[in-house]
C-alpha cells in the first residue's frame, strides 16, 4: 500500500483554511507529497514544475473553473483527478465526469470518505505499479493475474481477475452485487447473479484457507461482497 501514499498530489482550492485541513487529513493518512495552489494560474505553474500524479481540484476558482483547469492539466499529462466542491447539483456532477474527472466529492465530507475515494482512484489508476496485494492467507499478483498461496501459483480466470480488481479498488468496503456484475459483464448486467455466486465460490477456493468460512472475501447477504486487505 505504501507506493500509493508516495504519490505526488496537487491540491487546488481558493480557500487557504480548507487547503490546510485537507493537507492535514492527507498527512494523517500517510500521504507524503502534497503541493497546493489557490488559483488556476498558480495550479498550472505548480503542475508544470511538480509533475503531480494525482490532483484534487475545487470547481470554483477565482480565475476560472475547475473544469477548464482540468482541461489545461490534461494537456500536460494524464493523471487521475478528484473534484472536491461545494457545488452539489447533479448537473455539476455530470459536467465534472464529462470533463474527465475520476470522481466527484461534494463538500462537506468526512475525512474517511475523502481518503476512501482517493485510495480507490489511485488503486485503479496505478494498479500496475504494485501488483502484489496481501490477503489473510495469500497474495494476489495482479500483474500476473495469479494468486500466490503457500508458495504456489494459482492462475485467475479473466472474470475472476475483473471481480478481484473491482473488489480491491474498494478494499474494505462493500461492493454491490450489481457493481460486480457490471465490472465482469458490462452495462445492464441483469440475471448474472447466479454466475457471480459461482465465480465468487471459485475465487474463495483460490484465496481462502477455508472457503466455507471466508475471512478475506466476505458476503454481505443480499447486497454484495467485501474484500479485506491486510495492511503492512
Amino acid at each position: 500500500m505504501d507506493y500509493i501514499k508516495q504519490k505526488r498530489i496537487l491540491l487546488v482550492d481558493d480557500e487557504a483554511a480548507l487547503l490546510e485541513m485537507v493537507i492535514s487529513i492527507l498527512k494523517n493518512n500517510g500521504f507524503q507529497h502534497i503541493r497546493t495552489a489557490e488559483t488556476m494560474k498558480e495550479a498550472i505553474t505548480v503542475a508544470n514544475d511538480y509533475k503531480p500524479e494525482f490532483a484534487i481540484l475545487d470547481v470554483m476558482l477565482p480565475d476560472g473553473d475547475g473544469f477548464a483547469l482540468l482541461k489545461h492539466l490534461r494537456e500536460m499529462a494524464d493523471y487521475p483527478v478528484l473534484f472536491l466542491t461545494a457545488r452539489g447539483e447533479d448537473e455539476d456532477k455530470f459536467a465534472g465526469f464529462d470533463s474527465g474527472a475520476d470522481d466527484y466529492l461534494v463538500k462537506p465530507f468526512l475525512p474517511k470518505e475523502l481518503i476512501f475515494r482517493i485510495m480507490a482512484i489511485l488503486r485503479r489508476s496505478y494498479k500496475g505499479e504494485n501488483p502484489k496485494v496481501n490477503l489473510n492467507h495469500c497474495e494476489i499478483d495482479f500483474e500476473r493475474a495469479a494468486v500466490v498461496k503457500e508458495g504456489e501459483d494459482i492462475p485467475l480466470t479473466a472474470k475472476e481477475f475483473e471481480l478481484l480488481s473491482a473488489l480491491y479498488r474498494q478494499a474494505g468496503r462493500i461492493v454491490t452485487i450489481d457493481a460486480l456484475c457490471e465490472a465482469a459483464w458490462g452495462e445492464n448486467p441483469f440475471g448474472y447473479e447466479n454466475s457471480l455466486m459461482a465465480h465468487i465460490r471459485r475465487i474463495r477456493e483460490k484465496i481462502e484457507e477455508n472457503p466455507s468460512k471466508p475471512v478475506s472475501l466476505l458476503t454481505v447477504k443480499g447486497l454484495g461482497y467485501k474484500l479485506i486487505v491486510e495492511e503492512h
Binding site: M21, N28, D90, R173
Partner: protein, 467 residues
C-alpha cells in the same frame, strides 16, 4: 380555433333566428291590430248599406213617394240627405226634407256615374237601386273618404298567392342580408376576441388585433393577458430567486461545514483522546452530518417545490439502486450501530422502471437517515423490495422506537410544510420525508407510512411498473 368558430356561428344563428321570429311576430301583431282597429272603427253601418236600406224603404203611394219613418230617423242620425232619381227621365222624383240647396234636381247619366264613383258638391254620395229609380244618399262633407278602384289586372289577382310568397321570401332574404351586412364586421371582430378569451386561462400570451367594432374589448383582453404574463414572470422570478437564494446559502455553508467535519473527523480518529472528549467529538461530528443533510434536503426540497429540479427518467434497476444506498450507509457506519439487513426475496434481483436514479437513491437514503436520526441508540434497518404485477414496493423499516398511531396518521396526512401556515416546531421534522414524498410522486408513486412488524417504523414507497 374550431370551438370558438362553432360558438360564434351558434351565437349568430340564434341571433338571426330571434330576429326573424320577432319580425314575424311583429307582422302578425300589426295585422291583428289593424284588423281589430278596422272592425272597431267600422262598427257603424256602412254608407252603401244605408243607401240600399233607403232604396228598400221608399214606397210609392198614389204617385207620390214616402220614406219609412224608421229610415228617416236613421238618415237624420247620420245627418244625411237623400234623393230618388227617376230611371227614365233622370229627374228627382223624391227628396228628403233637409236637402242642401245646390243639389241639382235633374241628372244626366254621366252625373250618375260621377256621383256613384265620388262626390257631389263635396258630399260623399252612395247609391241604391229602388223600384222606380236610383236612391242617392249624401252624407255630410268629410264624413267618408271615397275611392273607387280603377280595376285590376286579372293575372295580378290570379297570381296573388305566389306573389305574396315571393314577397315574404324576399323580405326574409332582405332582413338576412341587412343583418349579415351590419354584423359581418362585428362577427369578424368577435372571433379573435373569443379566441383570445379562450387562450387566457391557458396562461399563454394573447394578442388580439385591436380593430373593428370591438377594438376596446380586444385592447382590454390584451391588457389582461399582459398583466397575467407579467405576474407569471414575476412569480417565476420570485420562485427562482428564492430557490437560488437557498442554493446560494447552502453553497456558502458547505465550505465552513467542511472545515468542521474535516477536523472533527480527524480528531475522532486520534488515539490519545479520553473517553469524555471522544464522546463530545462524536456529538459534534453527528450534528455536523445532520447539518450537511439538512443543507442538501433544503436545497433539493426547494428545487422540487419550484419544479427547478430536472427529472431525468431512464430505465433503472430499482434493486441495484436500493443495494447501492444500503452499501453506502454500511460503508460509512463507523460504529456499526445501524446494521442494514437485506430482507428481500432471494429471487428478487431485477426490477426495471423508468426512474431518476440519483433522486430515487436520495429518497431511500433519506429514509435510512431518518431511521438513524430517530434512533440515537442504534437500530437495525431492514431493506426490502417487493415486485408485484403492476407495482414495486421499496420498504425501509427499523426495529427502533417507532411512532404512535396518531403520529403515523399525522406523517401520512401532513401537507407540504412549505405550503402550510403552521410555522411551529413541526417545520424541521418533515423536510427529509417531504423530499421522499416529492420524489416518489414525481415518479407517479406514493409513500405509505405504517408500523413495522420489526417494532419500529415502516416507510413503503409504492412505484408503478409501466407496461
Amino acid at each position: 380555433m374550431k370551438s370558438e368558430l362553432k360558438s360564434i356561428s351558434k351565437l349568430s344563428m340564434r341571433f338571426l333566428g330571434l330576429l326573424m321570429m320577432s319580425t314575424v311576430i311583429l307582422a302578425v301583431l300589426n295585422l291583428l291590430f289593424i284588423s281589430i282597429f278596422a272592425i272597431k272603427e267600422g262598427a257603424g253601418i256602412s254608407p252603401w248599406q244605408v243607401a240600399k236600406d233607403s232604396a228598400e224603404a221608399i214606397q210609392q203611394e198614389n204617385g207620390s213617394y214616402t220614406l219609412s219613418e224608421e229610415m228617416k230617423v236613421k238618415l237624420k242620425e247620420e245627418q244625411a240627405w237623400a234623393v230618388l232619381i227617376d230611371d227614365t227621365s233622370g229627374k228627382v222624383i223624391w227628396n228628403s226634407d233637409d236637402l242642401p240647396e245646390n243639389i241639382p234636381k235633374e241628372y244626366t247619366l254621366s252625373d250618375i256615374a260621377s256621383l256613384t264613383r265620388g262626390y257631389m258638391d263635396g258630399y260623399p254620395t252612395f247609391t241604391g237601386e229602388a223600384e222606380d229609380g236610383l236612391i242617392v244618399v249624401g252624407f255630410p262633407k268629410d264624413s267618408y273618404w271615397k275611392y273607387m278602384q280603377p280595376g285590376w289586372d286579372y293575372q295580378f289577382i290570379k297570381n296573388i298567392p305566389i306573389t305574396l310568397l315571393i314577397l315574404v321570401i324576399c323580405n326574409i332574404a332582405l332582413i338576412f342580408i341587412i343583418y349579415m351586412a351590419t354584423n359581418y364586421k362585428f362577427l369578424k371582430s368577435v372571433g379573435p376576441i373569443v379566441e383570445g378569451i379562450q387562450y387566457l386561462p391557458k396562461k399563454e400570451m394573447v394578442n388580439v388585433k385591436e380593430k373593428g367594432a370591438l377594438s376596446e374589448l380586444a385592447a382590454n383582453i390584451n391588457q389582461t393577458s399582459a398583466i397575467l404574463q407579467s405576474q407569471q414572470r414575476m412569480l417565476k422570478r420570485k420562485e427562482e430567486a428564492r430557490s437560488n437564494w437557498i442554493a446560494g446559502v447552502s453553497h456558502d455553508i458547505r465550505t465552513p461545514l467542511s472545515m468542521v467535519m474535516g477536523y472533527v473527523g480527524q480528531l475522532e480518529e486520534e488515539d490519545k483522546l479520553d473517553q469524555e472528549s471522544r464522546q463530545k467529538i462524536t456529538v459534534i461530528r453527528k450534528q455536523s452530518e445532520k447539518m450537511k443533510q439538512l443543507i442538501d434536503d433544503l436545497n433539493l426540497a426547494s428545487k422540487l417545490e419550484y419544479n427547478m429540479q430536472p427529472i431525468h427518467l431512464k430505465d433503472e434497476n430499482l434493486v441495484a439502486a436500493v443495494r447501492e444506498v444500503a452499501v453506502e450507509f454500511m460503508n460509512i457506519d463507523l460504529e456499526g450501530k445501524y446494521p442494514v439487513e437485506w430482507t428481500a426475496d432471494e429471487q428478487v434481483s431485477v426490477c426495471v422502471i423508468p426512474a431518476d436514479k440519483s433522486l430515487l437513491k436520495r429518497a431511500i437514503s433519506n429514509l435510512i437517515q431518518n431511521c438513524m436520526n430517530h434512533n440515537e441508540d442504534g437500530c437495525t434497518i431492514y431493506l426490502s423490495i417487493d415486485i408485484g404485477e403492476s407495482k414495486c414496493v421499496i420498504s425501509v423499516e427499523d426495529n427502533g422506537i417507532g411512532a404512535t398511531k396518531e403520529q403515523i396518521q399525522h406523517l401520512n396526512n401532513t401537507p407540504h410544510y412549505m405550503l402550510g401556515s403552521n410555522s411551529s416546531g413541526e417545520l424541521r421534522h418533515g423536510l427529509g420525508l417531504l423530499i421522499v414524498k416529492q420524489i416518489i410522486s414525481s415518479h407517479g408513486g406514493e409513500v405509505v407510512i405504517e408500523q413495522s412488524h420489526y417494532g419500529g417504523l415502516a416507510v413503503r414507497m409504492v412505484l408503478p411498473i409501466a407496461e
